[in-house]
């Protein structure tokens, strides 16, 4: 006491990265006298080895961005519009909470479902979900609104959780021999990039790993791969179907044992498209090829599961009493269906030569070394060192539900789902997956259900009780960009106006830049009476905000979440430096709101929701549900509850992560315990139910919705659908515009404001430009570096051309997210905004899962 001399501070603090959504790499940060002077990777953790990307290395320039929002502000100009000055006035936090809580109280009394919320801060957005769950009293129809839009890989989540218990999947790589990547920036901005970059580089230089990248534009991974094969946008589905055709019909290479015992491919399917079931037990039946009789799928006396043939099955329940029903194994139905998808057929769709498809199928089929095993930690596993993975190329088109299904089923043919060297899975973000249930639970038909599911959970109600019309798609992950349509014109879509968005709260989301057609998004935002944004900057969308609250940078924030990919355990993010300005961390804002609204404690309070999220459904609670606590006490309780170590321990050590041992990493449904739905009749049932609902309520007559379109793509097996962009629009739109991300790109909700990364991008020949093939440019008389307009039916954007051989001849390649118009001296006007080219209507959304079409038909011409 009494010592007034300032102590010199010089320390390294452990935390982890939230600079983008992909990595959350563990870090150590050098702090000198309260200033972050260096950010490095944690060198002690296996697979990471201290390597971090350019974004993490540059994060202090985002932390110290002078354009950060410095205090809460409220709007004074009631007129809202792009570029219209909101007349911001600084207010205190007390005033901000007062205004906000008043508003929320009114909504909660009237109809809590008129609050819509969204966050693209995947590492802490769970907190927002806890708040909204408590706000609505646990109603599953909690509203999301136009969030991360074109960025989300929605189909991979819905199809992945349904088909092989995977929220995201990625090439396991450690033991892989052959990887096909379709439309994903492997090692750049997709799936644990710093780990996969190391593993792929090592595998390729040591020999033994072959990588093929199929993408309209050359990615970094494509540049390093054994082969880059350009493909016409949104035709990956045709490629997968033809690969399956070659494997099944020409080569006969597929993993029969895997199909018979780890999937429902042998289940006998009746004429109605559903499994034949035993009269007595109601269990799905299979045909025992040895005993020549039908048996329940789990009968221990089964000698051989038939995959092919047509059988008369007297044991099966049937409505028709005259004649015993006929059944075919699901695989037989699949085999007949894909007979039409020859490589020649696919070549026309994809522009990939038929011979190339045949060669790739043969190569990957042989590399799968079907029948081989591997011993890891003393236990033997089926070894299938091949993976077909994808991201935007398979997820961001209107035929993506079927594309993702085909990709995952192709892996099933190869037996590579969750195999050593095969397709690995990322289970979940946040802390919800901490229990690592093993094996996954299964249903009464013996089908695995994964750790969580994205099956439809919105009960059918018409008129719709949310602007996102969730009941049409069931779940919905992507932040409901389609809520834009409903908010603008509820009558057109049959939306009950008592459910229009009354208040929108966004956190680290910039809808105007991240969804399609900013003009439409602006219209929708203007129709929201009260919009609150928790943000680091005044971004484009804030032209429509009523209240802006200054968020902290993640270097100033406390948060605990699971590290998944190859790891389990808590990865702690802690305030490395004190929050600057009058900023407050998002979780603390939600804690304060919940306390003021009196929804923090109690059996349906925010803390009760938190316990449920952690799989704790009663005493002893992980977090006391009857006592108010601080956010720090909450994190401490989670650390102790899950791992018996307190927050102080985690602050010192940073994390307790460990590699997931092989017996829980591979074949998570439990080998020979549950099966993958090769033939996904639950999906068909959902489609049938949707059609029934739509027809019963005459939705087609009462609204502008196309019932037939909405019921497409629910088939239980992969079949061909073109994407919207394949239907010829105005012939003047002769090219496709696609976008992708580089290793220095953030996701679409984070502006490109980091001065170092912008400086690096300016030195790259491609990143800030629009890529066009030399040949295409020559035909159009366009030159390198020329200023052009790219125009679609949605709008036009200006940009500079870069002539290259590394893009498909029918394609213009964009990097994103760029082309900002927010007031930031470094970000404004850099690159071109691809989203402005994407039209927004019900036909640009896929059925089954509302994947939005992230490619557009465009024309390009010289700018005067």
């Amino acid at each position: 006491m009494g010592d007034t001399k300032t102590k010199h501070e010089n320390r390294w603090v452990r935390t982890c990265c939230s600079e983008c959504y992909a990595g959350h790499d563990p870090l150590k940060v050098h702090v000198v006298d309260g200033v972050v002077v260096r950010i490095e990777g944690d060198p002690d953790l296996p697979l990471f080895g201290g390597r971090v990307c350019a974004k993490a290395n540059s994060a202090m320039m985002r932390l110290y961005d002078p354009y950060r929002l410095k205090a809460p502000m409220k709007r004074t100009n009631p007129k809202k519009g792009v570029g219209v000055d909101p007349g911001w006035v600084e207010i205190t936090w007390e005033e901000a909470f007062d205004i906000f809580v008043q508003k929320l109280k009114k909504i909660r009394e009237k109809n809590p479902l008129q609050l819509y919320a969204g966050s693209m801060d995947v590492h802490v957005c769970g907190i927002q979900a806890l708040f909204t769950s408590a706000f609505t009293g646990g109603d599953p129809r909690i509203g999301y609104f136009a969030g991360y839009g074109g960025f989300c890989g929605e189909p991979i989540h819905r199809m992945g959780t349904g088909l092989h218990g995977s929220f995201l999947d990625f090439p396991e790589t450690r033991y892989s021999k052959y990887i096909i990547v379709t439309g994903g920036s492997l090692g750049e901005a997709w799936m644990a990039p710093t780990i996969l970059a190391q593993l792929v580089a090592e595998g390729r230089t040591k020999g033994g790993l072959k990588v093929v990248v199929i993408d309209p534009r050359q990615t970094r991974a494509a540049a390093k791969a054994d082969e880059w094969i350009p493909i016409r946008p949104a035709t990956d589905l045709a490629f997968f179907l033809a690969m399956m055709y070659v494997l099944v019909h020409e080569l006969g290479i597929y993993d029969r044992e895997f199909l018979k015992k780890q999937t429902n491919a042998p289940y006998l399917i009746g004429g109605n498209g559903y499994p034949l079931r035993d009269k007595e037990t109601n269990k799905p039946l299979i045909w025992d090829a040895k005993d020549n009789t039908a048996k329940s799928f789990d009968d221990p006396t089964i000698k051989d599961f038939a995959l092919e043939g047509t059988y008369t099955v007297p044991a099966a329940a049937s409505e028709n009493t005259d004649k015993p029903p006929e059944g075919r194994p699901a695989f037989q139905i699949f085999k007949e269906q894909i007979l039409q998808y020859t490589p020649e057929w696919a070549a026309e769709k994809t522009t990939i030569p038929a011979a190339t498809i045949r060669r790739l199928a043969k190569e990957i089929g042989e590399a799968a070394q079907i029948g081989s095993t591997i011993v890891l930690d003393g236990k033997e596993y089926a070894y299938r060192p091949v993976a077909v993975v994808g991201y935007r190329g398979t997820n961001c088109h209107t035929n993506s539900p079927k594309t993702e299904q085909a990709r995952i089923v192709l892996n099933m043919l190869l037996g590579s789902n969750r195999a050593p060297g095969g397709v690995a899975a990322f289970e979940t973000f946040g802390l919800s997956g901490h229990k690592w249930r093993y094996p996954y639970p299964g249903d009464e038909d013996g089908i695995t259900m994964g750790t969580h599911t994205l099956e439809p959970h919105s009960p059918w109600k018409f008129p719709f009780e949310d602007v996102g019309m969730k009941a049409l798609w069931g779940g919905g992950m992507s932040g409901m960009h389609h809520a834009i349509l409903g908010q603008i014109d509820p009558k057109k879509y049959g939306i009950d106006e008592n459910y229009l968005c009354e208040c929108l709260m966004h956190w680290r989301i910039n809808s105007l830049v991240s969804t399609q057609d900013p003009k439409m998004t602006a219209q929708a935002l203007a129709k929201i009476p009260f919009y609150v944004d928790i943000t680091l900057w005044l971004d484009e969308s804030d032209d429509f905000a009523d209240l802006v609250l200054p968020d902290v940078h993640w270097l100033e924030r406390l948060s605990a979440f699971n590290m998944t990919w190859f790891f389990e355990g808590i990865n702690l993010q802690q305030p490395v430096v004190a929050p600057m300005y009058k900023s407050m961390s998002g979780p603390e804002i939600y804690f304060e709101l919940a306390k003021r609204l009196e929804i923090f404690t109690g059996p349906m309070g925010m803390m009760a929701m938190a316990n449920m999220g952690l799989d704790c459904w009663g005493e002893p609670w992980i977090i006391d549900i009857n006592k108010e606590c601080t956010y720090e006490e909450y994190v401490d309780a989670i650390c102790k509850g899950l791992y018996g170590k307190d927050l102080a321990w985690f602050k010192e050590h940073g994390h307790n992560m460990q590699l997931i041992p092989p017996d829980r990493f591979y074949y998570r449904w439990g080998w020979n315990q549950y099966r993958l739905p090769f033939y996904w009749y639950k999906l068909k049932a959902q489609g049938d139910e949707l059609r029934e609902n739509l027809e019963r309520d005459k939705v087609g007559e009462k609204t502008n919705l196309d019932v037939n379109y909405l019921c497409q793509q629910f088939e239980p097996i992969p079949v061909w659908y073109p994407a919207l962009i394949h239907h010829q629009e105005d012939p003047k739109y002769d090219l496709y515009a696609v976008s992708g991300r580089a290793a220095i790109s953030h996701h679409s909700s984070l502006p490109a404001t980091n001065p170092w990364l912008i400086e690096i991008a300016e030195r790259d020949p491609f990143i800030l430009r629009i890529l066009i093939n030399h040949e295409t440019a020559r035909k159009k008389g366009l030159k390198d570096d020329e200023l052009v307009w790219v125009e679609s039916r949605a709008g036009r954007v200006k940009g500079r051309l870069k002539l290259t051989e590394c893009v498909h001849r029918e394609v213009l390649g964009f990097y994103g997210p760029l082309g900002h118009w927010m007031k930031h001296e470094l970000a404004e006007g850099k690159g071109s905004h691809h989203g402005s080219l994407l039209p927004m209507d019900m036909k640009t959304l896929a059925p089954v899962v509302p994947a939005l079409e992230a490619a557009a038909r465009v024309m390009v011409y010289k700018a005067e």
Binding site: G34, V35, V36, V37, R38, I39, E40, G41, P43, G49, G50, R51, V52, C53, A54, K55, N57, S58, M60, M61, Y64, P66, G187, E188, P193, T194, A197, Q198, V200, A201, E202, R204, T205, Q218, R220, A221, A223, K224, W228, I229, P230, A743, I744, P755, W756, L757, E759, I760, R763, D764, P765, F766, N773, H774, E775, E805, C806, R809, E825, L826
Partner: protein, 200 residues
């Protein structure tokens, strides 16, 4: 002891983490990257590929820069690292002309990224003595080597394409990599004998 670097071009994916790490570690002024990644395009569609080639000071055994330095500011340490003494450099920039690799930078103005320096940059002004009117460049992160650490670009490389070590030790990892892969130097014909080798 002669420090050297091997860059495996088969592995480098042009992610630019080395450029950012180098900037962070060395507080370089706007416009200056001691290490850069050049991007080339080879081949015809569809068999075309991008190639990424990181470049930085080669710490040549026979540095052309040192030979032309009139004040002796550029010199070579016993460990092979070529350094510039800012107190002796008078900014004549002969070295920039003489260097065949274009990896030296003249500091016209120290500069900041925004109108006023960020707290990080303010710290950098004190931590690194880059004087206006002098030439600066990569020194293999000598301050890190003193602490037993690898250069920042090597430690962060996301595809492990960079290897650092002792060229004089025939058993070092880099010596073995050079021999096994017939690694080559840039512009070897200039006779400078660079300490950076590339595997293609």
């Amino acid at each position: 002891m002669r420090y050297g670097l091997v860059i495996d071009l088969r592995k480098c994916a042009g992610c630019y983490s080395c450029m950012a790490a180098c900037k962070a570690e060395n507080f370089t002024p706007p416009g200056v990257f001691f290490t850069r990644v050049l991007v080339n395009e080879n081949g015809k569609y569809p068999n075309a590929r991008w190639q990424f080639i990181p470049v930085q000071c080669n710490h040549c055994e026979n540095p052309a820069c040192a030979a032309v330095c009139p004040t002796g500011a550029t010199s070579q340490k016993e460990n092979g690292i070529v350094t510039i003494d800012p107190n002796k450099c008078m900014g004549c920039r002969y070295c920039i002309v003489a260097c065949p690799y274009r990896v030296r930078f003249y500091v016209n103005k120290r500069g900041t990224y925004y109108r006023t320096p960020t707290p990080y940059e303010a710290f950098g002004f004190r931590a690194r003595d880059y004087q206006e009117g002098t030439v600066i460049k990569c020194d293999f992160c000598s301050h890190r080597l003193e602490q037993g650490l690898e250069p920042a670009c090597v430690a962060t490389c996301t595809s492990r394409a960079r290897y650092f070590g002792d060229l004089d030790d025939p058993n070092s990892e880099i010596s073995r990599l050079i021999t096994a892969n017939r690694a080559y130097q840039l512009l070897a014909e200039k006779g400078t004998n660079p300490s950076i080798y590339y595997i293609h």
